[in-house]
């Protein structure tokens, strides 16, 4: 029996009187609370701990392109269902539900525009859309963004954020790894720079194709990056994984990243890189 007993009910507020506004606040991973507005102004990076909040293609475009101005490519490309794939629900229903939920037609958006006055093509993945998985649409849009960069001889940035291939497109999904790599082989041959930015998370078929094929592979701090996912590895080896295993820092340490970039310095870093690349003194012969 307790010493004190509450005789009356807890203090309650009727729902219609509640004034909590969840859109106003953001809770950081370490439990801190900050204004959403501040977070946005800080490019979705928590100032105290440097934690990078996962953001959408739209947000990357706004951060990167001058005056938030850009022209989107292939905005209406949609997945079909060549396999008539059904698990707990048919794939077309899954696609529709996704589109309705996040107002985006697939897991990647691409656009061209100016970044500090330099022309760029940027393709950014969206983890919210079926885990950022790569199906035919993601593959084709990357292929076309690459073609655009090739045609206009302007640098290409691909921002990866993906769990890997899209199971519902099985064989087609697998072949997107080949397709994207094929187009990048042509871009490489033409000497047009390709920067691959790996964000949290980048795994599976995306890591094993275009994400690792940049002239410069860069990543946001703390991102999970790997081929096999941590759960699969744990099950395979039957041991716990080391603490920092598969973080961007781990991947950099093992020699697979050129550098890690804070999102707040992403735009200026991209420009500096291209400026240095372009400022070469040409062969005099």
């Amino acid at each position: 029996m307790s010493w004190f007993k509450r005789k009356e009910r807890n203090i309650t507020t009727p729902t219609n009187e509640k004034r909590d506004s969840p859109d106003m606040w953001f809770k950081t991973p370490s439990g801190g609370i900050m204004l959403k507005k501040e977070l946005v102004a800080n490019q979705y990076v928590c100032p105290d701990e440097g934690y990078h909040v996962r953001i959408t293609p739209q947000q990357y475009f706004e951060i990167l392109f001058d005056n938030e101005k850009f022209e989107e490519l292939d905005a209406n490309m949609r997945s079909k269902d060549p396999l008539k794939f059904t698990d707990s629900k048919p794939y077309p229903q899954r696609l529709e539900a996704m589109e309705a939920k996040i107002q985006s037609v697939d897991a990647l958006r691409s656009a061209h525009g100016s970044i500090n006055g330099q022309k760029w093509v940027v393709a950014a993945m969206d983890f919210r859309f079926i885990g950022g998985s790569m199906g035919s649409v993601v593959g084709e849009k990357i292929a076309r963004a690459t073609n655009y960069a090739l045609e206009h001889q302007i640098p290409l940035l691909i921002i990866s954020q993906s769990g890997g291939a899209r199971m519902m497109e099985a064989g087609f999904s697998l072949m997107q790894m080949a397709k994207t790599s094929a187009r990048l082989a042509l871009l490489a041959e033409a000497g047009v720079p390709y920067i691959s930015l790996l964000t949290n998370p980048t795994t599976g078929g995306v890591t094993a194709s275009f994400a690792m094929l940049g002239d410069f592979n860069i990543a946001e701090p703390g991102s999970l990056i790997g081929f096999a996912g941590p759960r699969v590895i744990r099950e395979t080896i039957g041991k716990d994984l080391p603490k920092d295993f598969q973080t961007a820092e781990f991947i950099e340490e093992h020699g697979f990243l050129d550098f890690i970039v804070d999102r707040r310095e992403l735009k200026s870093t991209l420009s500096r890189l291209i400026t240095i690349l372009k400022s070469r003194d040409s062969d005099k012969q």
């Binding site: 949609r78 079909k80 064989g171 997107q176 194709s209 690792m212 096999a228 697979f256």
Partner: protein, 315 residues
């Protein structure tokens, strides 16, 4: 090892053998009985193999008696010198390769390699390469290119190995680089799925001017078991997953994701190595002959365009 659907056939075959033995020991005339039994076996075999489910084909693709890369190499090549190592870390036993002669013509033979018993399986890491395997394969492809030798890749893996060291040494990067650089290789590349075509681990040696699948193999983005455990939260729906993934040679051919199917003897490749190897050899020789008539620039262009066309979408 016998698969469930092989058992009735095997029982009849055992009976036939018994009958023949009996006939040889006694004076009984069993000609009629033998004939009718042989007919029954043939019918049952045809019926069974004409109506295999996708999951049954997956089982055949993994049959422990199925010919592996080194079996094909041994059966097809009059001479073969195995080449080891990636020149960086080590020699990956799950990926083999070397120079061989088929009908007097040189080829760079590369392939995933599985083992047949427990000891061998461990030695071959269950046919799941580490990054070194992919880097070894690429090294051999570059040698082939240098000396203008056509390349043959045998695909037979559940997938690339998902281990700690594999990640630390860049499994993703190794596969990605292979896929990209295979588009640049100047000599003809012929890829043949001889067993399992598991995802990126398969595609890591899977970019070819021509890609074939043997009749009883699978090729997809994920194994039916893993697909089942992700989508149905249990490995028990593997049959359903195999159907959903549409991962057989016929499916992949129908989607235009491979170039052709190589037939196996009735009963499966494991029942007749010789005929299977003959079929494979014929395809390799014919296709190389055709590919060599095209100049390497056009060949590369065709290779890139073929894969660029893969995908289904609307806009």
């Amino acid at each position: 090892m016998l698969l469930d659907f092989e058992k009735p056939i095997h029982e009849l075959e055992a009976k036939l053998k018994e009958m023949k033995e009996l006939a040889s020991r006694t004076d009984m005339d069993v000609t009629e009985a033998v004939k009718s039994l042989e007919e029954r076996i043939a019918t049952l075999k045809k019926e069974t193999f004409d109506n295999l489910t996708r999951w049954q084909r997956v089982q055949l693709a993994r049959h422990t008696m199925r010919p592996y890369s080194l079996d094909y190499i041994q059966l097809m090549c009059s001479d073969f010198i195995e080449l080891h190592g990636d020149r960086q870390v080590k020699d990956d036993k799950a990926m083999v390769g070397g120079l061989g002669l088929i009908e007097g013509k040189s080829f760079m033979m590369i392939g995933h390699q599985k083992g047949r018993n427990t000891k061998e399986r461990q030695y071959r890491n269950f046919g799941m390469p580490n990054p070194e395997g992919y880097r070894k394969a690429l090294r051999l492809m570059r040698i082939a290119e240098k000396f203008e030798v056509p390349i043959v890749c045998f695909i037979d893996t559940q997938g690339a190995y998902p281990g700690l060291e594999a990640e630390a040494r860049g499994q993703g990067e190794a596969i990605a680089r292979n896929i990209k650089e295979m588009f640049d290789i100047k000599v003809p590349i012929i890829c043949i799925v001889i067993g399992e075509g598991g995802s990126g681990g398969a595609l890591g040696i899977g970019v070819g001017d021509k890609v074939f699948m043997l009749e009883n193999t699978w090729y997809s983005v994920i194994s039916p078991e893993s697909c089942s455990s992700i989508l149905w939260r249990s490995r028990d729906h593997k049959e359903q997953a195999a159907d959903a993934l549409k991962l057989t040679a016929k499916d992949m051919m129908g989607f235009g994701l491979i170039d052709d199917i190589i037939t196996e003897p009735l009963g499966g490749a494991h029942t007749d190595y010789q005929t299977t190897a003959e079929n494979v050899k014929k395809v390799i020789l014919e296709e190389t002959e055709k590919l060599l008539r095209i100049n390497h620039g056009l060949r590369r262009y065709n290779r890139i365009e073929k894969f660029s066309k893969m995908g289904v979408f609307e806009e």
